[in-house]
Amino acid sequence: MGGAARRDEVRAANRRLVRRLVLLPLAMFGFGFALVPLYDVFCEITGLNGKVDTGRAAQAPQGVRVDASRTVRIELLAQAPGGGRVAIEPAAPFMELHPGELRVAKFRARNLGAEAAVVRAVPSVTPGLAAQHLRKVQCFCFDEQRLAPGEARDLVVVFYLDPALPEDIRTVSLGYTVFEVRRQARAGPAGAGRG
């Protein structure tokens, strides 16, 4: 085989290989973005990050037996980061209940500013595995809340714990982070309208 012929052959082989190799980085760039919905799906199925079912109202616990044999402590937390125009705190730091029992938790929100504030609350349940067993019948986090200047209002969550909650979970933290909605549609690809 002549030197030139072999060179051409190698060059053609290189071109073929490079065309195939380029696909891998392109696919992996896409995979990085695909991880975003995959992450949400994974968390939704497994309930790992405490964000399960937070956007939907649950049915009232009709026919759910109240499990009076055990008591679970619910710790309530709320924070409003950034600026300090809106303040929020739970009416009581914790409550104790039996699984299956329908209860109301109140959070006191205040608009400290001189302008109306529209806020959205993002919930988080810890431990994450308890999230799918915390059923919200009604929640201020389902919608945006409008607070007039200086207004103070009780924001309400009506919820119960599914008796299927694992026995070893005795304390559940329910936290809300309250963000001001600045733009009209601050919807991201990562679960727009969630929370």
């Binding site: 190698v10 290989l17 980085p25 992996m28 760039f29 973005f33 991880l35 431990p127 991201g188 990562a190």
Partner: protein, 526 residues
């Protein structure tokens, strides 16, 4: 092999052009290898000066020399520059110089792409360094760029993102080139299982690079759109999740640490057999071990984030998967030791660095195993113990392997023997000071000193001072290295073609210095 003389003749016909143009337009793998190596040496010192700023500030508690924001910028920039500017380009430079000569190829498969992938680097590096002079200061959220903190970066933010993009593009192009070279350009008879281990480790590293650098590019692109285009990938207010960034980042980040260490394994597997005057023990097990490490690197990422609140099943999975990596790594360490066993050992500078690599990298590996234990990691996480761990594997690991490689192949590159006495001085000062520098950081971490703070509690003072003394000694010792390289380039005792008595492989069959063009006629490999 008669090819050596043939290529030597040809070299006279095609002398490289002179002056700046030679370096700007070169498509020669040796020139580009040199450019990469020089660039990484410069970056090593830039990043090193930043490290010394950090260590000077930590000489005693309280704020002495720099303000905390700048301190954090130093830790961030030091990390980014050492990872993307020093260690990775140094290994790419070695790959450029050596892979074609080791497999009997005339050049890299895609010489023009090769030129491009190098010349992106200085621009990316300059862009990153320019952030130091920008409104709001350089990025200071750590090299891992976690949101939401990193989104508070000032004007520097888009420059950070785009320089990471450029560095990624450069690495991907370099990696594609290396794969194409290894798969298509081997001399007749050079089967895959006859390739030197340095070539093998680089083949696997290159696949890791093209698989994960795009994921990093995706992650930082999401940061960019979160900051400027109103998306909410990592913004809880819009339904995103900051923890997701950590998952995506470490999906890149863990393979990345093997990108920095696998070529080092390759270098050590070349150096030790030469100075033990024995073939490498367990060649094929080395290849399989490298491949297993590469595979495992994709399924262990969450051990970097044990404390984010993972369920028990996740902690256990990532803990066991991480510990599994100790098995192929142990195979490698065993093979290196077995290669030395009953060998006719001599301890020239490359061998000294290689032996130090085996010992000190193993220490770093063991502290890695400690960190892999999920319950223990809750104590170690984000402490100086972590800093000690990854500097043992990256400085006394990857960097020592690069030193070993430079001393080992320098006579082949320059045609002169380096100054052995000064080389030994460089080694002994480095190996002592590197331990003075990093070993106390284990104690500091276990005692509870967190990383990435400009200040610390008074009880940590003594060990911090020991560490700072080690840091300055280590930094000064590297000036010896620069002098040795400079002196060797300028002149010295003539090197033979084989250079080392025990050296085996195609690169040792061409004259020293290696002619501008080698293996234009493919050699016959038996």
């Amino acid at each position: 092999m008669s090819t050596a003389t043939a290529t030597h003749d040809e070299a006279h016909h095609e002398e490289p052009p002179r002056g700046l143009k030679r370096w700007l337009f070169t498509t020669n793998h040796k020139d580009i290898g040199t450019l990469y190596l020089v660039f990484s040496l410069v970056m090593l010192f830039v990043g090193g000066v930043m490290a010394l700023v950090i260590r000077a500030e930590l000489w005693e508690p309280g704020i002495q020399h720099v303000d905390p924001q700048f301190f954090n910028a130093m830790t961030t920039m030091h990390g980014l520059i050492m990872v993307f500017g020093a260690i990775m380009p140094a290994f790419v430079g070695l790959a450029n110089w050596l892979i074609p000569m080791m497999i009997g190829a005339p050049d890299m498969a895609l010489p023009r792409l090769n030129n491009w992938s190098f010349w992106i680097l200085p621009f990316a590096g300059a862009m990153l360094l320019a952030t130091l002079f920008m409104e709001g200061g350089a990025p200071a959220a750590g090299w891992t760029m976690y949101p939401p903190l990193v989104l508070q970066t000032g004007d520097a933010f888009p420059f950070l993102i785009f320089s990471v993009h450029l560095l990624g593009i450069s690495s991907i192009m370099g990696a594609i080139n290396i794969i194409a070279t290894i798969l298509n350009m081997r001399a007749p008879g050079m089967t895959l299982m006859k390739m030197p281990l340095f070539v093998w480790t680089w083949l696997i590293t290159a696949y890791l690079l093209i698989a994960v650098m795009p994921v990093l590019a995706g992650a930082v692109t999401m940061l960019l759109t979160d900051k400027y285009f109103g998306t909410s990938f990592f913004d809880a207010a819009g339904g995103g999740d900051p923890v997701m960034f950590q998952h995506i980042f470490w999906f890149f980040g863990h393979p990345e640490v093997y990108i920095m260490i696998l070529p080092a394994f390759g270098v050590i597997s070349q150096v030790i057999p030469t100075f033990a005057r024995k073939p490498l023990f367990g060649y094929s097990s080395m290849v399989y071990a490298t491949a297993s490490i590469a595979f495992l690197s994709f399924i262990v990422w969450a051990h970097h984030m044990f404390t984010v609140g993972m369920p028990l099943a996740g902690e256990l999975f990532f803990m066991y998967a991480t510990m599994l990596i100790a098995v192929p790594t142990g195979v490698k360490v065993f093979n290196w030791v077995a290669t030395m066993w009953r060998g006719a050992l001599t301890f020239e500078t490359p061998m000294l660095f290689a032996v130090a690599f085996v010992i000190l990298f193993t220490i770093g590996g063991f502290s890695g195993l400690m960190l892999a234990i999920a319950p223990a990691d809750f104590q170690y996480h984000d402490s100086y113990f972590v800093v000690a761990h990854f500097h043992y594997v990256l400085v006394s690991g990857a960097l020592f392997a690069i030193f070993a490689a430079v001393y080992y192949w320098l006579p082949k590159w320059t045609g002169h023997m380096y100054d052995e006495r000064l080389g030994k001085w460089h080694f002994w000062l480095s190996v002592i000071s590197v331990n003075v520098l990093y070993f106390p950081q284990h104690f500091l971490g276990l005692a509870g000193m967190p990383r990435r703070y400009a200040d610390y509690a008074v009880q940590f003072t003594e060990w911090n001072q020991v560490s700072t003394v080690g840091a300055f000694a280590f930094g000064l010792a590297q000036l010896i290295f620069v002098y040795v390289v400079w002196k060797c380039v300028r002149g010295g005792r003539k090197a033979t073609a084989q250079v080392w008595e025990g050296a085996r492989g195609l690169e040792w069959t061409v004259p020293s210095p290696a002619p501008y063009h080698t293996f234009t006629q493919a050699p016959e490999v038996k």
